[in-house]
Amino acid sequence: MSVLAWIGEFLVLFGTIFYFLSTLGLIRMPDVYNRMQTATKSATLGSLGVIVGTGLWAVGKGLSIAWLTKAIVIGVFLLLTNPISAHALIRGAYKSGIPLWEGSVVDKYREHLEKKASEKKEVEEGEE
């Protein structure tokens, strides 16, 4: 067993631990926004660990270097697209009217939307 294979195994283990924490967060968090927090972060880092770890592991076992480069391409792709999908989901949840958890402290976004709506109304009234 080479050093690369050891590092790969460690990374895969590291990734699966974060996968587990991400799932646990889905159960323990109170509302959809806090669930998105845990699910996005831990699942992204977990996937990165598992994917890059698999690449290193395969190279350490004597397979071709293509394993590693393809794994890196997939990892970068995931790193760039995962936060965007999380952003789209959380924005969609807010727009469809899902309330924040009752323990939440501030909601600046609602103030912003209300201000925008009232400004728009004033403009329309001014036109009439």
């Binding site: 967060g25 968090m29 927090q37 880092l45 270097i65 480069t69 952003h87 501030v106 909601d107 912003h112």
Partner: protein
């Protein structure tokens, strides 16, 4: 920022596509390189107009150096974020204090704003909810300071010093 010339935009798109091809094939065989160059040229011809607005100016050495320095910084912030999430999930009292705060950014460029939004989503306790002009609306899992300035200080400032050089 003025728009780059068409040739520069085309060449930049071609270089990016060709590098992705090199990673995907993982081979330096001349036949592979030739066919990769031909396909990159065709795809770049179809897409260069929507892919970039600045062309080869993106490959300025200062930008590349800051980008390379940004990678370990970002990965470290991401690992801290996950340890933070792990702590909140495993702690029996579930110590969260969520809310939506507003931040301002100094970035003007759209790609820069996208990079900042992505960085915010993947780092400790924050997720971007909406971007409107220079305002960011961020769901923060542990609100320490609800004012606009305080939130910006805590969330966006650490990344802006890198992203300003890379994208402005």
């Amino acid at each position: 920022m003025t728009e780059a010339s068409r040739v520069s935009k085309y060449l930049y798109t071609f270089i990016v596509l060709f590098v992705i091809w090199l990673f995907l094939t993982a081979s330096l065989d001349p036949q592979e390189l030739l066919i990769g160059a031909i396909f990159s040229a065709i795809v770049a011809l179809l897409t260069y107009d929507i892919f970039t607005t600045r062309g080869l100016a993106n490959l300025h050495p200062r930008r590349v150096a800051y980008f390379i320095a940004y990678i370990p910084y970002f990965l470290w912030a991401m690992i801290l974020a996950n340890l933070d999430v792990a702590y909140r999930v495993l702690h029996p009292k579930r110590p969260i204090n969520p809310g939506i705060v507003e931040c301002r950014t100094e970035l003007k460029n759209n790609v820069g704003k996208l990079a900042l939004a992505n960085s915010i989503t993947l780092t400790p306790g924050t997720i971007t909810l909406d971007v409107d002009g220079d305002k960011y609306f961020i769901h923060w899992i542990d609100v320490k300071d609800a004012s606009v300035e305080g939130a910006s200080e805590n969330i966006t400032k650490p990344f802006e010093k890198f992203l300003k050089v890379i994208f402005e």
